[in-house]
């Protein structure tokens, strides 16, 4: 008997396009694996009705960004009693919000670069502008400024000079109601993938040809070189792996996830981002990690889906 499943992709977040690319690839992979899979875009038509009409035994969540990654869709799926891939609502909410995630990681002693949050309400209602110089005193330069709730490096800027900070904060606040200002760690960048029920996946080292792993470097095939496994000494690679696993545990992630890790000059790993819905596009990191670990794309999608089906 073929199992009916839905791939959820699209949505109305700025990452809609990325999600549709992830979703179509997952869809094709699952169909090739014999599932009766269809794609449902929560932003097209009445989502709950569409989902109920599809009578699926599980959903593969290939949504990125708001609603798909912040627990909103997951809460609906819980209510509807439909098993789904990935992390449950509360952990989604904590992880997707970089301010909350950093608080959690800090509290658990997971290494994450020195940081501060700038909340839009604080600026508007509490005249918080004058705290910006304090932030720089605390974190040092250079800085990365990113929206608290967004993905794909959208709204992200680098700050070399304190005077660039207000503009960078404004740019980030275009995507979210808070900005995370974080010390930029200089050194190799690696992605650590998590796939439940499988041993650790090889680390993927990210070398953007432009020097900056921004939106264009992420989604233009060929704009970034990936090395898998990463070209790191084994003890540093295992330290990255261990730090990422602590982050996954701390945040309560399930099934699949990805952590982005920067390694500083002293070989120390720092968690710079954690994703509950890792990209599954043709240039995404988790599929590269899986492939390097001998797991092809179709196999990867099926394994993830089976984790949800097993909860049925």
């Amino acid at each position: 008997m073929t199992e009916r499943v839905a791939v959820l992709a699209g949505g109305r977040s700025p990452e809609r396009e990325v999600s549709l690319r992830s979703g179509h690839r997952v869809l094709t992979a699952l169909q090739a694996r014999g599932f009766e899979a269809s794609l449902i875009d929560p932003s097209e038509g009445p989502f709950v009705d569409n989902l109920s009409a599809a009578r699926v035994s599980a959903c593969y969540v290939a949504l990125h960004g708001k609603e798909g990654e912040d627990g909103t869709v997951q809460r609906l799926l819980e209510l509807l009693g439909i098993p789904y891939t990935g992390t449950p609502p509360l952990a989604c909410e904590l992880t997707f919000d970089k301010v909350l995630a950093k608080e959690m990681l800090d509290a658990a002693g997971v290494a994450t670069p020195p940081w501060a949050a700038v909340q839009e309400d604080a600026l508007r209602d509490l005249a918080a502008g004058p705290v910006l110089p304090r932030i720089v005193e605390r974190t040092g330069l250079p800085l990365v400024v990113k929206p608290s709730r967004a993905g794909s490096a959208m709204g992200l800027s680098f700050v070399q000079d304190e005077r660039e900070l207000p503009q960078a904060v404004m740019n980030a606040l275009s995507f979210a109601d808070a900005a995370v200002v974080e010390r930029k760690i200089v050194g190799p960048e690696v992605a650590v993938g998590m796939l439940a029920g499988t041993g650790p996946l090889p680390l993927v080292e990210i070398v953007p040809r432009s020097g900056v792993f921004d939106y264009a470097a992420r989604y233009t095939p060929g704009a970034t070189e990936y090395h898998a496994p990463a070209r790191l000494p084994p003890e540093i690679a295992s330290a990255c792996q261990a730090e990422a696993e602590r982050a996954f545990r701390t945040l309560g992630l399930r099934d699949v996830a990805r952590a982005d890790v920067m390694v500083d000059g002293g070989g120390r790993p720092w968690i710079v981002d954690v994703n509950v819905s890792p990209g599954m596009t043709d240039t995404s990191l988790l599929p590269v990690a899986a492939r390097a670990g001998g797991i092809g794309f179709e196999e990867l999608c099926e394994r993830v889906l089976r984790l949800a089906l097993d909860r049925a």
């Binding site: 109305r12 977040s13 700025p14 990452e15 809609r16 396009e17 990325v18 549709l20 932003s43 839009e120 600026l123 508007r124 005249a127 918080a128 502008g129 004058p130 910006l132 967004a150 794909s152 959208m154 709204g155 207000p166 503009q167 904060v169 404004m170 740019n171 606040l173 275009s174 995507f175 993927v204 921004d214 939106y215 264009a216 992420r218 989604y219 233009t220 095939p221 060929g222 704009a223 970034t224 070189e225 990936y226 090395h227 898998a228 496994p229 070209r231 043709d282 240039t283 590269v288 492939r291 390097a292």
Partner: protein, 408 residues
Amino acid sequence: MAEFDVDPYADLYARRTAGMSASEVRALFAVASRPDVVSFAGGMPAVQALPTDHVTEVVGSVLAESSDVALQYGDGQGPPGLRERLAMLMAEEGTPADPADMVVTTGAQQALDLLGKVLLDPGDPIAVEAPAYVGALSAFSAYEPRYLQIELDDDGMIVDRLEEALVRGERPKLVYTVPNFHNPAGVTMSRARRERLVSLCREARIPIVEDNPYGLLRFEGEVEPTLRSMDPQNVIYLGTVSKVFSPGVRVGWAVAEPGVLQRLVLAKEAADLCGSNLNMLVTERYLSDDRWRSNLERLVETYRRRRDVMLSALAERFPADATWTRPAGGFYVWVRLPGYLDTPSLLAAAVERRVAYVPGTAFYPDGRGRDRMRLAFCYPPEERIEAGIRRLGELLEDEEELYRSLSG
């Protein structure tokens, strides 16, 4: 297994593809095309205003009477009957044109690509307006030119700046301009500037590429002579039926002197053998009786009302320190915001508030324009324009407040 390239061909791409990459702004447009978003982004003609019966009749009669031609390959230069009709369109603005000097292209966009192919070697300097039509920049960029950006103001390209560049020793291969209702700036080149430009380029032996998609969409004021009519020997003229009929038929054209024309035709044949005969014959038939005029008048009236609504909404809703152009025709208003606003980043917040525009950076090859935005008034109905400008105005007001709180 050391290197893991997700694109095994990464090392094979031609250098000219270097600028072709994914972008955040493009990704946001995917959200902006949703129906609840008022989009001032795309310059889409209001094709809904075309009478469907009329168009259906035209397509039907082409198929009924000339299907053997319409469904066949055609001539690289385009059907002679169509070229006569297109020459007639040019005569509407007082531009004489001989159908023999014309090549029909897949939209004027293909003519831009063919001109690049025929005229540009890598590193060749070309002069474009700053800002410039983004589609021309994309078409030319594939041929790796070096851009000389000539500023414009309310009277169009500031020709003195071009002259200064020539005095500095620059020798652009061509000067590209949209003199009427500029895309994105909305401005129209004054008579005096036209005369200066034509004489300067004639003396310097630099051909002008005159791109005139919007000339017939004039809301008010006197028709300015086309550059082509002022100096046929030195001006390559580009036209399109996208705005007077339909962009869906992809019919544009170039008029040039025989040497350039011959190369354009050969390049066109190398690119796609010939245009779509079906579409070209439909266009010819559409332009063969006078009904297109009344259809166009209705369209122009629609655009004029939309422009009026946008200008008054801007005056009411936009911050006092923003400025914008007042187009006498065409599709676009070009807005300049206070310098602390960054239109590429602001787009995400705009889309969140269900309104979209094109950030100014699209129209400069060098990343300038972060404080500019292009607003197209051609497509959304009047009440949607009002709502969209209100949403944008509120956003800008909030941003201004945020800026003040950040700058202490």
